[in-house]
């Protein structure tokens, strides 16, 4: 029984990270109608930069207790890449979806070599400093507290995003822009700034997720292209453009992966895509998306 709980927690941890990236993907799709293949690259960028920043902090003798805040700062600092990339994307707004996908695919290719150039081709990882937060013993297995903190952080982000979108003025403006760009513009919304801000926020969610995951997993060149596919599965299952959908989809994908790794490893990825196809066929708009008219 406790082994089962352990598996579930592993799945939830994975889901937490997936949710952060998927939420970024959803925000950008919801407002800008762009499916951003480069979200996996933001994730990888966060992971690499997290390692670098923790390394610097270490050399300045900053306590390893500050690992989590340092990683979050690393994710947020990387937000600066948002506006210039959004500036390039501006040229394909309103054009065919294939062009938008391809432009973000171009970013994926370029980012991969940027990683190779800065951090080299070998996988990079942090040592086990994250165990400094201790482990919680439940029955006969231990869960690193760090993992629980990441799960908590993801839940906080989910609640915060929800409150931001539903309760604040800026959130209302965002939703209005997503709903009807021309009308929002006519009512005096600076759509350009909104787009730039949303894309940056989406990127920061991705980079932070990458930074948070790096203490437990190595950063490698392939992580970008592997992760984007999983994030895609999440948003398709949950429904394009819906934050709640990202939450549900991340849980589904995270748990299924965790369970299949234990019970039938051959199905690890297969099961995820089988569900994606099932969802697309039965409910093309996903579990929480708006069904197309």
């Amino acid at each position: 029984m406790s082994a089962f709980a352990n598996i579930l927690l592993g799945g939830v941890f994975h889901a937490a990270v997936l949710f952060l990236v998927a939420a970024g993907l959803q925000l950008v799709f919801g407002v800008q109608k762009i499916v951003n293949l480069a979200c996996g690259s933001f994730y990888a960028l966060g992971a690499y930069f997290g390692i670098t920043l923790v390394g610097y902090a270490d050399s300045f003798g900053i306590s390893s207790w500050l690992l989590l805040p340092i990683l979050i700062v690393a994710g947020i600092l990387l937000g600066f890449i948002g506006p210039p990339i959004e500036r390039l994307l501006r040229s394909v707004y309103g054009r065919d979806e294939s062009f938008q996908l391809l432009l973000t695919f171009a970013f994926v290719l370029m980012f991969q070599d940027v990683f190779r150039f800065i951090w080299g081709a070998n996988p990079r990882s942090l040592d086990t400093t994250y165990l400094i937060y201790g482990t919680v013993r439940i029955g006969d297995f231990g869960v690193p507290v760090y993992n629980l903190l990441v799960i908590a952080a993801a839940i906080l982000v989910a609640l915060g995003l929800g409150a931001f979108l539903q309760r604040t003025n800026y959130g209302r403006i965002l939703r209005a822009t997503a709903e009807n760009r021309a009308m929002a513009e006519a009512l005096g919304v600076d759509v350009r700034r909104i787009y730039s801000a949303v894309f940056t926020l989406g990127a920061v969610l991705g980079t932070t997720a990458g930074a948070l995951v790096v203490p437990t997993a190595a950063a490698s060149l392939d992580m970008a292209i592997e992760f984007v596919i999983e994030a895609f599965a999440v948003v398709v299952i949950g429904g394009l453009g819906s934050i709640r959908g990202a939450f549900a989809g991340a849980l589904v994908v995270g748990l299924i992966r965790a369970l299949s790794i234990v019970y039938y490893p051959e199905l690890e990825v297969l099961a995820t895509y089988a569900i994606v196809i099932g969802v697309l066929l039965l409910r093309p708009a996903g579990l929480f998306g708006k069904q197309p008219a």
Binding site: F99, A106, I229
Partner: protein
């Protein structure tokens, strides 16, 4: 483009391709084999993308069908004739594409792309994980087979690829091009274009939109499998890497690079991409960055691709000469 003009382009292009093994060292001629594979696959891809308006982001799956089909037929079942292999994998891929297509063509735009992507990844993880069936990440070996019933035993691999097999591929590309030209200029092709431009109106005029999209999907699968068989013959191994989603992305890249609104665009794209990738790889290990930058530049600045650019330039030159 009228037939005579297109015919001239085709004849000149074929003649130029025939000259390559005579002037270039065998190594370079053998490098051209992937170009033929991609060009044939892209002719099919573009029937779906350029003419029907459906962007498949899982098209590498059909190349994988072709390569793995070749591995199974030649490696496991011991079929020794490449023509038999080619025909069987094309038919098998088309049959397999029917149920997949039935599910996919209900959607357009981003949902079609995602569904094809999911099917592609499903196939990839099947190849990757079911080690006892597919060899997992080490793939399946593809032995040398006879072409046109001839063994060419005295040729080594490079000589075979640069000589007889090269001309064999030229012939295959010409056949594939003629078949595709017939398809897109037939009433069937017009139906496809009508469903692309306005599906509702086409439906109203009596076009069975889903049926036509399915037909385009199935045909493009056959072309993809043919390309995959050639690629498999060249590499000598079928591994899961060739069906990964980035490979599908690469196919879209080639189509856009060449220009998907032009009949010859995909072929131009495959040629440019193959040469560019080879040259960049020998220049720098950061070739992906350069390819990405080129892709971004094309998407932003030249959405009609190289073929569109060429048509534009010739038109401008013609206008200048008349005034």
């Amino acid at each position: 483009m009228t037939f005579s003009k297109a015919g001239m382009v085709a004849v000149a292009g074929t003649a130029a391709l025939m000259l390559v093994p005579l002037v270039a060292p065998p190594y370079y001629a053998s490098l051209m084999i992937p170009f033929f594979a991609y060009a044939i696959a892209l002719l099919g891809f573009n029937l779906l993308f350029g003419y029907t308006g459906l962007l498949s982001f899982g098209h590498a799956m059909f190349i994988g069908f072709g390569a793995y089909g070749t591995a199974v037929l030649a490696g496991v079942l011991g079929v020794r004739s490449f023509e038999v292999v080619l025909i069987v994998v094309i038919l098998a891929a088309m049959i397999a594409a029917v149920p997949i297509g039935l599910l996919c063509v209900r959607y357009v735009g981003i949902f079609f792309g995602m569904l094809t992507l999911a099917f592609g990844m499903l196939f990839h993880s099947f190849l990757f994980k079911f080690y006892h069936l597919t060899g997992g990440d080490s793939g399946m070996r593809i032995p040398r087979v006879k072409i046109l019933g001839l063994e060419f035993a005295s040729y080594n691999k490079i000589e075979l690829l640069a000589g007889p097999f090269y001309y064999y591929c030229v012939a295959l590309l010409v056949i594939a091009g003629l078949v595709m030209w017939r398809i897109v200029h037939s009433p069937f092709g017009l139906h496809l274009k009508a469903t692309r431009d306005n599906a509702r109106k086409a439906e109203y005029l009596g076009v069975h939109v889903h049926r036509f999209r399915l037909a385009a999907f199935v045909i493009s699968a056959g072309f993809g499998a043919a390309g995959g068989a050639i690629l498999g013959f060249r590499i000598g191994i079928a591994d899961p890497e060739i069906v990964y989603w980035t490979q599908s992305g690469q196919l879209v890249f080639m189509a856009v690079l060449g220009g998907f609104s032009n009949f010859f665009g995909p072929i131009v794209g495959a040629l440019t991409f193959t040469i560019l990738q080879d040259q960049l790889q020998s220049l720098t290990q950061y070739w992906r960055f350069i390819l990405g930058a080129i892709l971004a530049a094309i998407v932003i600045g030249f959405p009609t691709g190289l073929a569109g650019l060429a048509v534009d330039l010739t038109r401008r030159a013609a206008r200048r000469s008349t005034t």
